[in-house]
Symmetry: C2
């Protein structure tokens, strides 16, 4: 049996489990995001600003995925939301089975929005459906404007692009129009927000959009 066959079977098994997660999210009317990016693009910082902004407006839970440490879960727990840390011990991405396990430890009662922060990796998480409604890819301006062309699968499979660290544009070699153009070239359907967790630029727009998506889902499921 070849490695490729094994990989296909792994993906098929994952897709079946992702469907189960999706059913659970549908029954509970929970809007679910899968946040992906390179290491250090600012996923956890965006999560912190999001939890701060939506405090009292939405009931949110978080699943954190990391190769090692529970640092991110600790950062998120400070905002008083339910959070479960998945440590992959070397694994390069989350999968639907790991999320299913994490869901057993989460009280989803009343939760309207679940944010899953994936392992920092711009390649491997792109193939693994977790049952989410949308993938959100975070690209930091410090990574340069060519990343959508060099890592196309992640940008093709995402619905949302957060261009983060927008405050650092004056200091780095990154054209914002090229970055957004390259991303739209890979995936013309991308919705793009520009954000900075330092100046909080764009955080309100992003959170208002999240609130609307969540409300729309609740209405649809009523």
């Amino acid at each position: 049996m070849s490695v490729v066959t094994i990989e296909r079977k792994v993906l098929e098994k994952n897709d079946a489990l992702a469907e189960k997660n999706r059913e659970l999210f549908h029954q509970s009317s929970i809007f679910v995001l899968n946040m992906v990016s390179s290491p250090g693009s600012g996923k956890t910082s965006i999560l912190e600003r999001t939890l701060e902004f939506l405090n009292g407006k939405l009931k949110i839970a978080v699943i954190e995925g990391d190769v090692q440490t529970d640092f991110d879960a600790q950062r998120v727990a400070k905002f008083g939301v339910p959070v479960v840390q998945i440590v992959t011990h070397g694994g390069c991405h989350l999968d639907a089975s790991l999320v299913q396990d994490a869901l057993r430890s989460l009280d989803l009662n009343g939760i309207q929005l679940l944010i899953i922060e994936n392992v920092g990796n711009l390649v491997c998480p792109s193939n693994y459906d977790l049952g989410e409604h949308m993938k959100v890819v975070v690209a930091s301006t410090t990574e340069g404007d060519d990343k959508p062309l060099k890592y196309p699968a992640m940008f093709r499979n995402a619905s949302i692009l957060l261009v983060n660290k927008i405050d650092l544009v004056p200091y780095v070699n990154c054209s914002l129009s090229a970055l957004k153009g390259n991303a739209l070239c890979m995936n013309p359907a991308l919705t793009i927000f520009e954000t900075s967790c330092t100046t909080k630029q764009g955080i309100a727009e992003w959170c208002n959009w999240l609130e609307k998506q969540t409300a729309d889902l609740q209405k649809k499921n009523q």
Copy 2:
């Protein structure tokens, strides 16, 4: 046959091929580096500054690894050095077999230093020996100071750490001493250089070290 068994067999096969690459490098007295990092940490920029600084001093060849595009090979080719681009078409790391293939297209005659730039990924390349003398991990200050703790395998398996984008420290939430401390906590044997491709800080020290390593290898093999 389980996925874990398949993975072990893949790694064993890779290690055997890596040994063959290593023998070739030894016979040709070529010092070989495997550069690894997150996407956008500045591996290619460091390569450009290195080729510029060592122009006329060392005979260098480059192997570029990318998921998609030959952008990096094009950037490197401008410096007049032999370069081969490996496109992995979705693959998340280079392996010894891909490098073996690339070596067939490279004229190694007279080459003293070969730099292999791996796919931007802080997880998967850590397990794959390419036959190199040393792994060089690049960590950008914009990624924050916790990455060595969150992605330990890469820092444990590397011999050199380049702390890059040192010029951006005033604008980002990153303590240099914490970043270096965390890296040394994972791997006390790491040699650390601080670099900036914008101000060229640290490039001379890094290149002088490279020149010395290459000269030492040539002497040892005489």
